[in-house]
Symmetry: C2
Subunit: 205 residues, 2 copies
Protein backbone atom coordinates (compact mmCIF):
# COMPACT_ATOMS: atom_id res chain seq x y z
CA UNK A 1 0.00 0.00 0.00
CA UNK A 2 1.27 3.51 -0.86
CA UNK A 3 2.01 6.03 1.91
CA UNK A 4 -1.30 7.21 3.34
CA UNK A 5 -2.32 10.74 4.26
CA UNK A 6 -5.65 11.46 5.91
CA UNK A 7 -7.01 14.91 5.04
CA UNK A 8 -9.33 15.58 7.93
CA UNK A 9 -11.03 17.64 10.60
CA UNK A 10 -10.22 15.50 13.61
CA UNK A 11 -13.47 16.02 15.56
CA UNK A 12 -15.57 14.82 12.61
CA UNK A 13 -16.95 11.33 13.17
CA UNK A 14 -16.45 10.60 9.48
CA UNK A 15 -12.70 11.24 9.89
CA UNK A 16 -12.55 9.27 13.15
CA UNK A 17 -13.98 6.18 11.36
CA UNK A 18 -10.91 6.05 9.16
CA UNK A 19 -8.48 6.49 12.07
CA UNK A 20 -10.32 3.79 14.03
CA UNK A 21 -10.19 1.37 11.09
CA UNK A 22 -6.48 2.06 10.61
CA UNK A 23 -5.84 1.59 14.35
CA UNK A 24 -7.50 -1.85 14.34
CA UNK A 25 -5.40 -2.83 11.33
CA UNK A 26 -2.14 -1.34 12.63
CA UNK A 27 -1.83 0.88 9.53
CA UNK A 28 0.02 4.18 10.07
CA UNK A 29 -1.64 7.35 8.75
CA UNK A 30 -0.09 10.75 8.27
CA UNK A 31 -2.68 13.36 9.22
CA UNK A 32 -3.37 16.79 7.74
CA UNK A 33 -5.88 19.00 9.55
CA UNK A 34 -8.25 21.50 7.90
CA UNK A 35 -10.42 23.98 9.76
CA UNK A 36 -13.86 23.46 8.21
CA UNK A 37 -15.22 26.43 10.20
CA UNK A 38 -12.77 28.65 8.29
CA UNK A 39 -13.74 27.13 4.92
CA UNK A 40 -10.34 25.52 4.40
CA UNK A 41 -11.90 22.64 2.41
CA UNK A 42 -13.54 25.07 -0.01
CA UNK A 43 -10.30 26.71 -1.20
CA UNK A 44 -9.46 26.46 -4.89
CA UNK A 45 -6.41 24.38 -3.97
CA UNK A 46 -8.43 21.86 -1.95
CA UNK A 47 -11.17 21.63 -4.60
CA UNK A 48 -8.63 21.19 -7.38
CA UNK A 49 -6.18 18.82 -5.72
CA UNK A 50 -7.93 16.95 -2.90
CA UNK A 51 -11.72 16.78 -3.40
CA UNK A 52 -13.91 18.58 -5.93
CA UNK A 53 -16.79 17.98 -3.50
CA UNK A 54 -15.16 20.27 -0.89
CA UNK A 55 -15.47 17.80 1.95
CA UNK A 56 -13.28 15.91 4.36
CA UNK A 57 -12.29 13.20 5.01
CA UNK A 58 -10.21 12.28 1.99
CA UNK A 59 -7.72 9.44 2.17
CA UNK A 60 -4.68 10.02 -0.03
CA UNK A 61 -2.80 6.91 -1.18
CA UNK A 62 0.32 8.03 -3.02
CA UNK A 63 -0.99 10.41 -5.69
CA UNK A 64 -4.56 9.09 -5.57
CA UNK A 65 -7.33 10.71 -3.55
CA UNK A 66 -10.28 8.84 -2.09
CA UNK A 67 -13.24 10.82 -0.70
CA UNK A 68 -16.14 9.37 1.32
CA UNK A 69 -15.35 7.99 4.75
CA UNK A 70 -16.88 4.55 4.30
CA UNK A 71 -15.06 4.00 1.00
CA UNK A 72 -11.79 4.89 2.71
CA UNK A 73 -12.53 2.40 5.51
CA UNK A 74 -13.24 -0.28 2.90
CA UNK A 75 -9.94 0.48 1.15
CA UNK A 76 -7.96 0.12 4.36
CA UNK A 77 -9.77 -3.04 5.49
CA UNK A 78 -10.08 -4.81 2.13
CA UNK A 79 -9.03 -8.44 2.60
CA UNK A 80 -8.96 -8.22 6.42
CA UNK A 81 -11.33 -9.69 9.00
CA UNK A 82 -13.01 -6.30 9.39
CA UNK A 83 -14.89 -7.21 6.19
CA UNK A 84 -16.88 -10.48 6.22
CA UNK A 85 -15.51 -13.14 3.88
CA UNK A 86 -18.99 -14.46 3.06
CA UNK A 87 -20.68 -12.77 0.10
CA UNK A 88 -24.05 -12.09 1.74
CA UNK A 89 -22.51 -10.93 5.01
CA UNK A 90 -20.16 -8.61 3.13
CA UNK A 91 -23.15 -7.03 1.36
CA UNK A 92 -25.03 -6.88 4.68
CA UNK A 93 -22.11 -4.93 6.15
CA UNK A 94 -22.37 -2.51 3.23
CA UNK A 95 -26.12 -2.26 3.83
CA UNK A 96 -25.43 -0.84 7.30
CA UNK A 97 -22.76 1.50 5.94
CA UNK A 98 -25.08 2.90 3.25
CA UNK A 99 -27.86 3.16 5.84
CA UNK A 100 -25.48 5.07 8.09
CA UNK A 101 -24.82 7.66 5.40
CA UNK A 102 -28.47 7.99 4.38
CA UNK A 103 -30.50 7.60 7.58
CA UNK A 104 -28.11 8.14 10.48
CA UNK A 105 -25.42 10.68 9.61
CA UNK A 106 -27.70 13.39 8.12
CA UNK A 107 -29.66 13.39 11.37
CA UNK A 108 -27.49 12.20 14.27
CA UNK A 109 -24.26 13.83 13.03
CA UNK A 110 -25.91 16.94 11.63
CA UNK A 111 -27.65 17.77 14.92
CA UNK A 112 -24.32 17.35 16.73
CA UNK A 113 -22.77 19.84 14.31
CA UNK A 114 -25.70 22.23 14.54
CA UNK A 115 -25.88 22.21 18.35
CA UNK A 116 -22.17 22.04 19.21
CA UNK A 117 -20.55 24.03 16.39
CA UNK A 118 -23.25 26.44 15.20
CA UNK A 119 -25.37 26.82 18.34
CA UNK A 120 -29.17 26.93 18.49
CA UNK A 121 -29.18 30.71 18.86
CA UNK A 122 -27.54 31.03 15.45
CA UNK A 123 -29.84 28.66 13.53
CA UNK A 124 -31.20 29.86 10.20
CA UNK A 125 -34.95 29.74 9.64
CA UNK A 126 -34.51 26.59 7.54
CA UNK A 127 -32.48 24.90 10.28
CA UNK A 128 -35.22 25.77 12.77
CA UNK A 129 -37.81 24.18 10.46
CA UNK A 130 -35.69 21.08 9.85
CA UNK A 131 -34.70 20.62 13.49
CA UNK A 132 -37.76 18.59 14.68
CA UNK A 133 -37.67 16.48 11.50
CA UNK A 134 -34.00 15.61 12.00
CA UNK A 135 -34.63 14.98 15.70
CA UNK A 136 -37.39 12.46 14.88
CA UNK A 137 -35.37 10.81 12.11
CA UNK A 138 -32.32 10.57 14.39
CA UNK A 139 -34.39 8.97 17.17
CA UNK A 140 -35.84 6.53 14.60
CA UNK A 141 -32.34 5.60 13.44
CA UNK A 142 -31.18 5.02 17.02
CA UNK A 143 -34.31 3.00 17.82
CA UNK A 144 -33.72 0.79 14.77
CA UNK A 145 -30.12 0.18 15.87
CA UNK A 146 -31.22 -0.59 19.44
CA UNK A 147 -33.76 -3.16 18.22
CA UNK A 148 -31.20 -4.76 15.90
CA UNK A 149 -28.70 -5.09 18.74
CA UNK A 150 -31.17 -6.68 21.15
CA UNK A 151 -29.98 -10.20 20.33
CA UNK A 152 -26.66 -9.46 18.66
CA UNK A 153 -23.22 -8.50 19.93
CA UNK A 154 -22.22 -6.64 16.74
CA UNK A 155 -24.05 -5.46 13.61
CA UNK A 156 -23.28 -8.27 11.17
CA UNK A 157 -21.18 -11.10 12.54
CA UNK A 158 -20.29 -11.94 16.13
CA UNK A 159 -17.25 -9.70 15.78
CA UNK A 160 -16.31 -6.16 14.81
CA UNK A 161 -16.75 -5.22 11.14
CA UNK A 162 -16.73 -1.90 9.32
CA UNK A 163 -20.49 -1.68 9.94
CA UNK A 164 -19.77 -1.27 13.66
CA UNK A 165 -16.96 1.22 13.05
CA UNK A 166 -19.11 3.33 10.70
CA UNK A 167 -22.01 3.41 13.17
CA UNK A 168 -19.90 3.83 16.30
CA UNK A 169 -18.32 7.09 15.09
CA UNK A 170 -21.34 9.37 15.48
CA UNK A 171 -23.45 7.21 17.80
CA UNK A 172 -20.97 7.34 20.70
CA UNK A 173 -21.07 11.17 20.61
CA UNK A 174 -24.78 11.50 19.80
CA UNK A 175 -25.47 13.20 23.14
CA UNK A 176 -23.60 16.23 21.71
CA UNK A 177 -26.59 16.41 19.34
CA UNK A 178 -29.17 16.24 22.13
CA UNK A 179 -29.92 12.51 21.89
CA UNK A 180 -30.24 10.60 25.16
CA UNK A 181 -28.47 7.23 25.20
CA UNK A 182 -30.35 6.23 28.36
CA UNK A 183 -33.25 5.43 26.02
CA UNK A 184 -31.15 2.88 24.12
CA UNK A 185 -29.72 0.21 26.45
CA UNK A 186 -28.68 -2.19 23.67
CA UNK A 187 -26.76 0.57 21.93
CA UNK A 188 -25.03 1.45 25.23
CA UNK A 189 -23.92 -2.16 25.74
CA UNK A 190 -22.66 -2.32 22.13
CA UNK A 191 -20.75 0.96 22.51
CA UNK A 192 -19.04 -0.53 25.57
CA UNK A 193 -18.19 -3.72 23.67
CA UNK A 194 -16.66 -1.77 20.78
CA UNK A 195 -14.67 0.52 23.09
CA UNK A 196 -13.30 -2.46 25.05
CA UNK A 197 -11.77 -4.16 22.00
CA UNK A 198 -7.99 -4.31 21.68
CA UNK A 199 -6.86 -1.72 19.14
CA UNK A 200 -9.65 0.73 19.98
CA UNK A 201 -8.78 4.44 20.05
CA UNK A 202 -10.99 7.32 21.19
CA UNK A 203 -12.11 10.13 18.88
CA UNK A 204 -9.77 12.51 20.73
CA UNK A 205 -6.68 10.51 19.68
CA UNK B 1 -26.83 -18.06 -5.06
CA UNK B 2 -30.24 -18.58 -3.41
CA UNK B 3 -33.45 -17.70 -5.29
CA UNK B 4 -33.71 -13.92 -5.43
CA UNK B 5 -36.79 -11.78 -4.86
CA UNK B 6 -36.70 -8.02 -5.37
CA UNK B 7 -39.15 -6.19 -3.11
CA UNK B 8 -39.66 -2.96 -4.99
CA UNK B 9 -41.58 0.00 -6.35
CA UNK B 10 -40.63 -0.30 -10.01
CA UNK B 11 -40.45 3.42 -10.85
CA UNK B 12 -37.95 4.05 -8.04
CA UNK B 13 -34.43 4.59 -9.39
CA UNK B 14 -33.06 2.74 -6.37
CA UNK B 15 -35.03 -0.36 -7.42
CA UNK B 16 -34.05 0.05 -11.08
CA UNK B 17 -30.34 -0.03 -10.11
CA UNK B 18 -30.75 -3.57 -8.87
CA UNK B 19 -32.68 -4.72 -11.96
CA UNK B 20 -30.06 -3.09 -14.20
CA UNK B 21 -27.21 -4.80 -12.34
CA UNK B 22 -28.99 -8.16 -12.55
CA UNK B 23 -29.67 -7.64 -16.28
CA UNK B 24 -25.98 -7.01 -17.00
CA UNK B 25 -25.09 -10.16 -15.07
CA UNK B 26 -27.87 -12.31 -16.53
CA UNK B 27 -29.25 -13.04 -13.04
CA UNK B 28 -33.02 -13.68 -12.89
CA UNK B 29 -35.02 -11.79 -10.25
CA UNK B 30 -38.52 -12.49 -9.06
CA UNK B 31 -40.23 -9.15 -8.46
CA UNK B 32 -42.76 -8.12 -5.82
CA UNK B 33 -44.32 -4.67 -6.16
CA UNK B 34 -45.40 -2.41 -3.26
CA UNK B 35 -47.35 0.82 -3.64
CA UNK B 36 -45.32 3.29 -1.58
CA UNK B 37 -48.03 5.94 -2.09
CA UNK B 38 -50.43 3.67 -0.20
CA UNK B 39 -47.90 3.05 2.61
CA UNK B 40 -47.49 -0.62 1.76
CA UNK B 41 -43.86 -0.59 2.99
CA UNK B 42 -44.93 0.72 6.41
CA UNK B 43 -47.24 -2.18 7.26
CA UNK B 44 -46.44 -4.23 10.35
CA UNK B 45 -45.82 -7.23 8.11
CA UNK B 46 -43.33 -5.38 5.89
CA UNK B 47 -41.54 -3.83 8.89
CA UNK B 48 -41.35 -7.16 10.68
CA UNK B 49 -40.44 -9.46 7.79
CA UNK B 50 -38.81 -7.42 5.03
CA UNK B 51 -37.23 -4.20 6.33
CA UNK B 52 -37.51 -2.57 9.76
CA UNK B 53 -36.56 0.69 8.02
CA UNK B 54 -39.81 0.64 6.01
CA UNK B 55 -38.14 1.24 2.66
CA UNK B 56 -37.76 -0.44 -0.68
CA UNK B 57 -35.78 -1.84 -2.40
CA UNK B 58 -34.95 -4.95 -0.43
CA UNK B 59 -33.26 -7.89 -2.11
CA UNK B 60 -34.30 -11.21 -0.62
CA UNK B 61 -31.86 -14.11 -1.04
CA UNK B 62 -33.52 -17.26 0.27
CA UNK B 63 -34.58 -16.32 3.80
CA UNK B 64 -32.20 -13.39 4.11
CA UNK B 65 -33.20 -9.77 3.44
CA UNK B 66 -30.81 -7.12 2.19
CA UNK B 67 -31.95 -3.47 2.26
CA UNK B 68 -30.11 -0.55 0.62
CA UNK B 69 -29.94 -0.49 -3.16
CA UNK B 70 -26.19 -0.12 -3.50
CA UNK B 71 -25.52 -2.99 -1.09
CA UNK B 72 -27.86 -5.18 -3.14
CA UNK B 73 -26.02 -4.25 -6.35
CA UNK B 74 -22.72 -5.14 -4.66
CA UNK B 75 -24.12 -8.51 -3.60
CA UNK B 76 -25.23 -9.37 -7.12
CA UNK B 77 -22.01 -8.17 -8.76
CA UNK B 78 -19.50 -9.45 -6.19
CA UNK B 79 -16.67 -11.18 -8.07
CA UNK B 80 -17.81 -9.93 -11.50
CA UNK B 81 -16.26 -7.31 -13.79
CA UNK B 82 -18.87 -4.78 -12.62
CA UNK B 83 -16.63 -4.36 -9.55
CA UNK B 84 -12.99 -3.38 -10.17
CA UNK B 85 -10.49 -6.07 -9.22
CA UNK B 86 -7.89 -3.53 -8.11
CA UNK B 87 -8.14 -2.53 -4.45
CA UNK B 88 -7.98 1.25 -4.92
CA UNK B 89 -10.34 1.22 -7.90
CA UNK B 90 -12.81 -0.94 -5.97
CA UNK B 91 -12.81 1.62 -3.13
CA UNK B 92 -13.09 4.44 -5.66
CA UNK B 93 -16.21 2.79 -7.07
CA UNK B 94 -17.63 2.68 -3.54
CA UNK B 95 -16.72 6.36 -3.11
CA UNK B 96 -19.06 7.24 -5.99
CA UNK B 97 -21.78 4.96 -4.62
CA UNK B 98 -21.61 6.55 -1.14
CA UNK B 99 -21.50 9.99 -2.77
CA UNK B 100 -24.59 9.06 -4.76
CA UNK B 101 -26.54 8.25 -1.62
CA UNK B 102 -25.34 11.32 0.30
CA UNK B 103 -25.04 14.11 -2.28
CA UNK B 104 -27.06 13.04 -5.31
CA UNK B 105 -30.08 10.95 -4.32
CA UNK B 106 -31.40 13.22 -1.52
CA UNK B 107 -31.49 16.09 -4.03
CA UNK B 108 -31.86 14.77 -7.59
CA UNK B 109 -34.15 11.84 -6.70
CA UNK B 110 -36.07 13.68 -4.00
CA UNK B 111 -37.01 16.55 -6.32
CA UNK B 112 -38.21 14.01 -8.90
CA UNK B 113 -40.42 12.45 -6.24
CA UNK B 114 -41.65 15.80 -4.98
CA UNK B 115 -42.48 17.21 -8.41
CA UNK B 116 -43.79 14.07 -10.12
CA UNK B 117 -45.48 12.19 -7.27
CA UNK B 118 -46.46 14.88 -4.75
CA UNK B 119 -46.84 17.93 -6.99
CA UNK B 120 -45.66 21.45 -6.22
CA UNK B 121 -49.18 22.57 -5.29
CA UNK B 122 -49.22 20.03 -2.46
CA UNK B 123 -45.82 20.89 -0.93
CA UNK B 124 -45.67 21.32 2.82
CA UNK B 125 -44.14 24.51 4.20
CA UNK B 126 -40.93 22.62 4.98
CA UNK B 127 -40.74 21.25 1.42
CA UNK B 128 -41.18 24.77 0.09
CA UNK B 129 -38.30 25.96 2.29
CA UNK B 130 -36.06 23.03 1.32
CA UNK B 131 -36.84 23.21 -2.40
CA UNK B 132 -34.23 25.86 -3.42
CA UNK B 133 -31.60 24.20 -1.22
CA UNK B 134 -32.18 20.81 -2.84
CA UNK B 135 -32.27 22.43 -6.29
CA UNK B 136 -28.85 24.03 -5.71
CA UNK B 137 -27.39 20.84 -4.20
CA UNK B 138 -28.74 18.77 -7.09
CA UNK B 139 -27.23 21.14 -9.66
CA UNK B 140 -23.92 21.00 -7.76
CA UNK B 141 -23.99 17.19 -7.85
CA UNK B 142 -24.71 17.15 -11.59
CA UNK B 143 -21.98 19.74 -12.23
CA UNK B 144 -19.47 17.63 -10.32
CA UNK B 145 -20.42 14.57 -12.38
CA UNK B 146 -20.18 16.54 -15.63
CA UNK B 147 -16.68 17.80 -14.75
CA UNK B 148 -15.56 14.29 -13.75
CA UNK B 149 -16.79 12.86 -17.07
CA UNK B 150 -15.06 15.49 -19.19
CA UNK B 151 -12.08 13.25 -19.89
CA UNK B 152 -13.51 9.86 -18.90
CA UNK B 153 -15.87 7.40 -20.57
CA UNK B 154 -17.13 5.92 -17.27
CA UNK B 155 -16.84 6.85 -13.60
CA UNK B 156 -13.97 4.63 -12.45
CA UNK B 157 -12.45 2.44 -15.13
CA UNK B 158 -12.83 2.59 -18.92
CA UNK B 159 -15.82 0.30 -18.59
CA UNK B 160 -19.13 0.03 -16.76
CA UNK B 161 -18.97 -0.52 -12.99
CA UNK B 162 -21.56 -0.28 -10.24
CA UNK B 163 -20.62 3.40 -9.85
CA UNK B 164 -22.12 4.07 -13.29
CA UNK B 165 -25.20 1.97 -12.57
CA UNK B 166 -25.81 3.68 -9.22
CA UNK B 167 -25.49 7.14 -10.77
CA UNK B 168 -27.34 6.36 -14.00
CA UNK B 169 -30.55 5.38 -12.21
CA UNK B 170 -31.69 8.84 -11.09
CA UNK B 171 -29.55 10.96 -13.43
CA UNK B 172 -31.21 9.71 -16.60
CA UNK B 173 -34.63 10.74 -15.26
CA UNK B 174 -33.46 13.94 -13.53
CA UNK B 175 -35.57 16.10 -15.86
CA UNK B 176 -38.61 14.71 -13.99
CA UNK B 177 -37.21 16.69 -11.06
CA UNK B 178 -36.82 19.89 -13.04
CA UNK B 179 -33.12 19.54 -13.87
CA UNK B 180 -32.04 20.42 -17.41
CA UNK B 181 -29.59 17.95 -18.97
CA UNK B 182 -28.78 20.44 -21.75
CA UNK B 183 -26.51 22.10 -19.18
CA UNK B 184 -24.46 18.91 -18.79
CA UNK B 185 -23.08 17.68 -22.14
CA UNK B 186 -20.58 15.22 -20.64
CA UNK B 187 -23.36 13.61 -18.59
CA UNK B 188 -25.53 13.33 -21.71
CA UNK B 189 -22.75 11.58 -23.63
CA UNK B 190 -22.17 9.20 -20.70
CA UNK B 191 -25.91 8.43 -20.41
CA UNK B 192 -25.86 7.50 -24.11
CA UNK B 193 -22.81 5.28 -23.61
CA UNK B 194 -24.43 3.45 -20.69
CA UNK B 195 -27.73 2.99 -22.52
CA UNK B 196 -25.95 1.61 -25.62
CA UNK B 197 -24.21 -1.21 -23.75
CA UNK B 198 -25.30 -4.80 -24.40
CA UNK B 199 -27.44 -5.98 -21.50
CA UNK B 200 -28.92 -2.55 -20.80
CA UNK B 201 -32.60 -2.35 -19.86
CA UNK B 202 -34.74 0.77 -19.44
CA UNK B 203 -36.36 1.76 -16.13
CA UNK B 204 -39.75 0.84 -17.60
CA UNK B 205 -38.73 -2.82 -18.00
Amino acid sequence: MSALVLHEYAQSGNCYKIRLTAAHLGIPLERREYDIMKGETRSQQFLGEVNANGRIPVLQAGNDFLPESNAACFYLADGSDLIPHDRFERADMLHWMFWEQYNHEPNVATLRFWLKWIGEANFTELQRAQYPVKRAAGEAALALMDAHLEHRAFFVLDRLTLADIALYAYTHVCEDGGFDLQRYPCIRAWLDRVAALPGHIPITT
